[in-house]
Symmetry: C2
DNA sequence: CTGAAAGCGCTTACAG
DNA sequence: CTGAAAGCGCTTACAG
């Protein structure tokens, strides 16, 4: 069995209480005693048992992270940000990746049984609302990360409205006047519309998927710029455009969103709006730690950033 | 505070011990008593406190997962497989994503302090060998996942040799006789070489990166097939080939490895060797659970699978 | 400045 | 079939 506080106490002829105080840096213990204790703890590779500690302190120093889907790699960096910040605060990160709605309950139960001090949610709130209620009843702090609920819990999310402004604003500044915009993300679309209207330009055509877009482009040859609502969608948009015999960016410019790694490969070179993914994760964990500490926190919008690459250019002069 | 075993005992006028036994399905408790206890536990939404439980049982029902890097999305599905299997066994998954070598120690410390029952490692063993020693000294079971150590711990990994055979074998069956092979993964290369030699074909040219490959292709116009050692590398190989004015698959066929999602998009259509990522994760967690149970386990090679797409075709007949 | 004691919530022999 | 008791490893008032 591992070495315990009792064993240290026995070897040094002091009480277990003194060991505990010394190891927790309590100033009531004499320098000398404290030094001796720390030295022995180091030597014997003492690791405090979290069960005993947690039973007393009612803290597990464990956070739960519930993500909706593993694939697509969007959450990779977010999770890395969460994990880094958690580790720096000596928090363990319990992770549950549960695309399947039926498994959310089971995962939350595991979190609660392990006495997590708080939970970060990256999956869709609305579809699991009643499952989160159990967590809420237990007053476990929750933070939403790159998603948001109806307002009961703090969240951290990219300022998608501003991101939409950046994308459309970039196309407009290049000289594009008639755009097609993806309506897949309400806030990003609202940002698109805001700049377009502020410039008194024609209302953009709206689309959700490739087939629609093809119809729109054929009917409106004046459209020279497209804002896709993700880089993944930009790939599909690219196919549609090339399928119509048009070239990027010569005939049509397109912008993506997210700045996924593939946006930067030679085949794509998408101009896109980057989300500070690692920062989002760090901020979410930071907020959770403050919530655990009993502080009040404010929801946070993170700044998106325009990344200009080869998929956008001034429109051809006819 | 949450409801405890004591509270249940008080309300039902039985002893805490009886509650504990009943909830754990011990047959010594009378049916009737047991039913009453379970009903009340349900009603009050009783969740056993893992600290009290763990202190006694010396089990945390927590597993640690140490991954080398979050990006690249290769580990997404592996982690999903691990997580599913863990959850099904009522295990919580503590996750540490630590690209930075300096942080491995901190992460392992967090695992140990939380009393994980076992650890799955997906990062490179050799670079962290001395850091794992601390874990080994504490006799925490370890399983390597999609990587392996020098043989002290069980692992689960794709049969890369067979994968190499599949890739080269496919090219040969299409009629290619002179290949270039990536030497980045020893086992995959060995698989390539095995089929090539068995068919008495000329030794392939070996390359590690794009620049080398360009030189090789210019010097050896007889090369019509290339085995890249990952889909990510296949993207780079594609650039090199097209940079030389050659077309895929008309002039040169290429195979990737991994079957990443992007291999299937229209721009690439890579013929590739799929790894059963989710299955790898599931198997690793399963093995860890058995190790925790005190059973002996055998390392496991997972079957790769050839996925034929548009990047390969018979060589042009001159 | 240090020790003795109680207690966190659970499980597990041991009585009866 | 059920209860009383001890104890897992720690922390935290309380004495002295």
């Amino acid at each position: 069995m591992s070495v315990t506080i009792k064993e240290l106490a026995r070897q040094l002829n002091v009480s277990p209480a003194t060991i505990s105080l010394a190891l927790n840096g309590d100033s009531r213990v004499a320098e000398e005693t404290s030094a001796k204790i720390k030295a022995l703890a180091d030597e014997l590779d003492y690791v405090p048992n979290n069960f005993g500690r947690g039973l007393q302190s009612r803290k597990s120093r464990l956070a739960g992270y519930l993500a909706g889907s593993a694939t697509g790699s969007f959450f990779d960096l977010i999770m890395q940000g969460i994990g880094e910040t958690a580790a720096a605060a000596n928090y363990g990160l319990l992770t549950g990746i549960t695309y399947a709605s039926g498994k959310v309950d089971a995962q939350l139960k595991i979190f609660i049984e392990r006495n997590v001090d708080g939970i970060i949610i990256s999956s869709n709130y609305s579809t699991h609302a009643e499952q989160f209620e159990k967590v809420e009843r237990r007053k476990v702090p929750m933070v939403f990360c790159s998603t948001r609920d109806s307002g009961r819990h703090p969240f951290v999310i990219t300022d998608n409205f501003k991101g939409g402004q950046l994308a459309a604003g970039h196309l407009i500044s290049l000289g594009h006047r008639h755009l097609a915009c993806c309506s897949g993300n309400k806030d990003r679309l609202a940002g698109n519309l805001d700049v377009i209207r502020r410039h008194n330009l024609p209302e953009p055509a709206l689309f959700m998927e490739g087939k629609e877009l093809a119809v729109i482009l054929k009917a409106n040859p004046s459209i020279t710029g497209i804002t896709a609502c993700s880089d993944a969608q930009a790939i599909r948009v690219k196919h549609v455009i090339e399928g119509l015999g048009l070239r990027i960016p010569d005939d049509i410019s397109i912008t993506g969103f997210d700045d996924m790694w593939f946006s930067n490969i030679q085949e794509f070179q998408f101009t896109t709006v980057a989300q500070p993914k690692e920062g989002i994760g760090q901020a979410a964990m930071q907020m959770l730690l403050e919530l655990i500490d009993g502080k009040k926190v404010m929801s946070k919008f993170m700044e998106p950033e325009l990344v200009v690459r080869g998929s956008t250019a001034p429109p051809a002069t006819k």
